[in-house]
Every structure is written in C-alpha cells, then in structure tokens.
Amino acid sequence: MALRIVIEMARLMEARQLIPIASAHIDGCLYHGDGGVEFAERLVTLKGRVAVPTTLNVGALDLLAPHRVRSDPHHAAMSRRLMSAYVELGCQPTWTCAPYQVGHRPSLGQHVAWGESNAVAFANSVLGARTNRYGDFFDICCALAGRAPLAGLHLDANRRATVLVDTSAITPQLKQSAVFYPVLGTWLGATCGGDVAVIDGLPPDIPEDWLKALGAAASSSGAVGLFHVAGVTPEAPDVSTALGGQVPLRTVSLTPEIVRATRDRLSTTQGGRIDAVAVGSPHFSLEEFAQLERMSRGKRFSVPFYVCTGRQTLERLESTTGTADLVQRGIEIVVDTCVVVTPILPPSGGVLMTSSGKFAHYTPANTGYEVVYGSLEDCVASAEAGRVIRDESLWG
C-alpha cells in the first residue's frame, strides 16, 4: 500500500523517478480522527517497517504526564493507539516538532522525506537537506519505501531563490531581537506563498532558534518549504549565489510600517488581562530554557505559563540545571505534544499570550482563545502582572 501511494504521488508530482532517502520525520502521529488511526493500523497489519531512521512529530497526549491533556476517553484511547502504531512501524518515539534540535540533523544536500511544516522549512533552509512539504500519510509511505519522488525541492532548479527581500529599512536593534523573526516569517509566508526567497541584510550571527521561529511562522502563513538568508544559510553564501546568478523575478522591500502591521495582525486583541501564556512552538530548545530561566528569576507568575518541548530536551534539562526553579515560578513543562494541537489550556477560555508566531497563527481556530503576540521578555512580564505588558520601543 505504501509503495502504491508513493508511485501515485510521484505521478501527480510529475516525477520521473524515485530517489533513496536518508531519513524521515513523520507528522501523521497526531490524532485528527479515526481515519488516520485506521490507516496507521493498516500499515502495521501489513507488517510495515520503516526502511530509514525515522523520528516522530508531536502526538495528542503528554505521555509523561497524561493528566495534562483534557481529552475525552475516545480521543485519548485513539491518540494512544495512533502513537503506538507509528512506534510499531519502527519510528523513534521522539514526539517533537523540532527533531533537528534533538539530534536528527540531515546534512547538506541529503535527500530526506519530512512532514511538519516547520521541520520541513528548517531541514531545507537551515540544514540544506532536501525535502518537499510531505503531508501526513505520505511521510510514512516514503519512510516505509525508503524512497521519495524526485520532484520539487529535491531538484537544484527549484531551490534557487526567485524573490529578493530587502531588509535595509529595518533597524539593527530590531534585527538583533528574537521577537522580529516570527513577524518576518509571517510576512514572508503571506508575501511569497510557496516561492523561494532570499532575505538580504540580516545579521550573520542569527541564532538557530530565530531561524527556527522564522521558518515556523513562514510555513504557517504561507507554503514556504525553503528560504535563504544571505550570508547565513548554507545555500546562500551571498545573494547572487542564492539567486543562481539570475535576476530575481520580484524584489520586495520590508518597511517598518509593514513590520508593525504584521506584528499587530499576529494578535487578535491588543491589551488588557491575559489568562495564560504558552511558548515553545516549535518546541523549546535548551538555549531557550536558559533564557527563560534568566528572565524569570525572582518572579512568580499569576497565570499558567506553558512551555512545550521535546522529551529529550526535558531529560537534558533535568540532568543539568533541573526544573524545580522553573516549576516553582509557575511554569508547566508540556512534552510530546503542545497546547494548540490538543486540549491543555484551561477550558474557561480567554486570552493567551505567546512569543511564537505559529501559536499566534493557530491559537484562535484551534483553542478558541484570543491571542496576543509579544517577545519572551514581554510574556514573562505579562505572566507576572496578569495583563499585557509589551516593550514598544523596538518597533519605532
């Protein structure tokens, strides 16, 4: 069945051949309904076994703290069956949307088949590996077959940037702030859709977590599977190389006005009381935990403060600095899943504050909460005060 689907998809993608893949990342283990469980269990019945190293994206349960998810018995039972089926197929129970920060890092030019839109953007853009935006079900089919259709972003010609983004009108202070990158990504996705862009004028030492946030936002508001950052990402030592020596089809200039308007659109309400804070989409890294620990020192939060992360990151955190201080300040660490994919937020509803562009994008539809976007510092200050506190000085 898996190979039949791979061949059918290859036909639809107009691929002339299949290529071997080095690894896969599977997004299909999150429960959306009984159809997905039936599909995965069918593959198990057919004695499927992945042919390449394969990591798993988030599921709908926090397996380490099951009480955290308020799901009905059917939802919980089916979520567990789905997660078990993927493990039976030979996938590693990583349960993270940031597999690239827990050791799954394909190398430059390597062909892989990844699902989860942010992971696809990261693998292509930051690592220079090659994957299309594989949808749920197709990712596991490629993993079982060990092959993917040679099409789209697997091909040199489709990785060349056709859009040039000029950021020279944006202040260096804003570009040196984490809070800028989800906004840039949101605008990029809405502006470029699925076109490949090269962004010029960003600092050469951008931390990996900021690129992660950029890609996650761009792949939420658009269909961005690959972006280049001149002087930063591996296929863009400079603008000209990223453009393949050709003239861009479009040049777009980012302005402070566009940045402010995009930032405002990430929120559905602008001020007042908040009911919860959630960060960690994509999943928090150790570095992000260290920043949060520093920022929240001496504070006690008056609203629930959820941090979503992978279980491997939690293990490393526990074996180094520990989590007692964070928990004492009112932080709840959610693993294996996150707050926009399964019911974790208090059922009373209200306003959620976040530093994640992806959470800002999906919170209203998936949780019913209103959302306010701000920096991690803003989230910490607001969680302590119980109302929105944002540093406006950066935004001009």
């Binding site: 639809l12 159809g35 659109r265």
Partner: protein
C-alpha cells in the same frame, strides 16, 4: 450550462454542487473543522462557511502538512466537498483523497487549474465536474 473549463485530472470522478471559490489561501488543519466541514479559522475571509457538498476552489494551499489528514477525516465523516479544484497542487490535499481511496472511503474528483482560470469561476453558481476534467457551469 454552457461554459467549460478544463483542468488536469489529479483524481478522476464526477461531482456537482454550488461552486465555493475561497477568497484566500487556506490551511485545512487549523482552518476547517473535520466534523462539521465549516471553515473555522476566524482570520479567514470565508470563516463560518461550510465547504461540505460544494465544488471547492482553493486558490493556494498554505500551512500545515496535516491538511491531508483533515481531508481524510472530512471524507470519512461525510462532511467533505463534492469536488476539489486546486489553483496549485502541493500534493497535500490530494493525498488525503488518495489515502481515502486506499481505505475504501468515498472519494471526490480533484482537478488542478491555472490560478488565473480558477479566479474567474462564478462563486455560488451550480457547477459540475466531469470524468474528463471539465468544469461546466
């Protein structure tokens, strides 16, 4: 019935229903409720509109790679559109239909049309999709 548009057949089949041309790209995951078939993203211009039973024209897919899973559940729950017209095939929505076919669920025809042709379709009018990939209205 008079005008015809011909698209590339991704999944063959026949369908009829009111044409719903979405005013913006959509992510089915986080955008469509698989139980009700209603557009659930409050930021989408067609928020609150039901896609069930329509011939749904999607200018561009965006967002989640789980949109294929939502498509599968829509087909399983009987809340799917009657047919799907894509301005750009990124292989995600069509995949939900392929997997539905593998599992023996009802399927729907899927066509790929040039985005410019898609934009001219008369939203709200009754249209039919033929086995050969024509959209008639």
């Amino acid at each position: 019935m008079g005008s015809d548009l011909v698209g590339r057949v991704l999944i063959p089949g026949r369908a009829a229903g009111p044409l719903l041309l979405l005013d913006a790209p959509i992510s089915f995951w986080g955008g469509v409720d698989p139980h009700t078939g209603v557009i659930s993203d409050p930021r989408h211009p067609n928020h609150g509109v039901a896609i069930s039973g329509t011939v749904l024209a999607v200018p561009a897919p965006i967002g989640s790679s789980s949109s294929s899973a939502i498509m599968l559940e829509l087909l399983r729950n009987g809340t799917a559109p009657a047919g799907l017209l894509l301005g750009h095939n990124d292989g995600i929505l069509v995949l939900g239909v392929i997997v539905a076919r593998e599992l023996g669920y009802p399927t729907i025809p899927v066509l790929e049309l040039a985005p410019s042709a898609l934009a001219q379709l008369p939203s709200g009018r009754s249209v039919s999709v033929t086995e050969g990939g024509s959209v008639c209205y």
